[in-house]
């Protein structure tokens, strides 16, 4: 792959990553805003579910970005950065799975 095509692919990845992050934050803030309204009016389990769900979506958004980057580097045949992306992914998964 030529350097120019490589740069264009990275630019496309940047735009796709941007869209993904925006979608994640919109979804999360919709849940959080809805949950907050419910919580102030009635409280109860529905509000807690929406709030918790929104926060989980928020915490997973960067993870989704890392996965998208991994796929892009594999497509580019850029194995060094695909590997690095996997290391970051592993750390993020460990953050969910390890017990403190």
């Amino acid at each position: 792959m030529t350097a120019r095509a490589d740069e264009e692919a990275i630019e496309r990845l940047e735009i796709q990553v941007g869209r993904l992050l925006k979608a994640g934050v919109w979804l999360a803030s919709a849940c959080l805003a809805g949950g907050l309204v419910l919580w102030t009016i009635t409280g109860g389990p529905a509000a807690t579910t929406l709030l918790t769900g929104g926060l989980i979506v928020l915490m997973l958004t960067p993870l989704a970005r890392v996965v998208a980057s991994f796929v892009a580097y594999v497509k580019l045949g850029d194995w060094f950065f695909a590997g690095l992306t996997m290391v970051v992914f592993a750390v993020l998964v460990a953050a969910w799975l390890l017990k403190s």
Partner: protein, 269 residues
Amino acid sequence: MIAGVIGAGAVAGCLGSLLGLGGGVFLVPFLNAGLGLDFRVAAATGLMTVIATSSVVSAGRAGRNLINLRLGMLLEVATTVGGLIAAFTVAYLSNHTLALIFAFVTVAIAILMLTRLDRRNVLDASLVPGPLGGRFHDEDTGREVVYQVKRLPLGMTASFLAGYVSGTLGIGGGILKVPVLNAWCGVPMRAAAATSALMIGVTAAASAPQYFARGEVNPPVAAAAVIGVLMGSQLGFHVGSRAPVKWLKMLMAAVLLAVSAFYFVKALA
């Protein structure tokens, strides 16, 4: 309480986007000292707002080549490991130790804010940026900017420390690594700031789940803070060009020094 958190989040988010900080450094002490929440609950709230601002800012900047995805991913190895270690060790730190760390970090941030270096680092446009370097169009000068990354181990070390501080205190930590990337690693200011803004979200995502699992996330407070910060950063973005940023920086540095003094006293009491 909820309205207060939304308001505080909005102020922090607005200041954050005006000053190029995440805003967490203002929000966390307000939640802890102002509203009396436990420091870890305040930090967990800060982490949630960091993820939200990071995602929004990066989405807004995408496609202009300012974000260096490769350098970011490499440094994220260091920041996420730092963040993960912090999320575990914070459970064993006493409130006094946390107050002391916070006091030191806020002094450092206040000093950095007042003496932000901006070396030019602009090389000949025909230069090959290498696998980690980059190239972008500078809107201020109208020129093509090309740079190479130098002293990578130093950048990695700064990133690890920024990640550790972020995971311990619930702030983004961008201001701790951006000056290093800019002054010593050859990354132009705008590229360093944009790349750091992308990195802080992933970094916070490496520590937030541990706070969450320990029950240190207060969902309504975190939700209110996230909504507030998102609204505030939009506002800051719109008034950005008209705001007297220099005076604001001096004022906020003074606020941070006061916050720092408060936490020093708290740590020693």
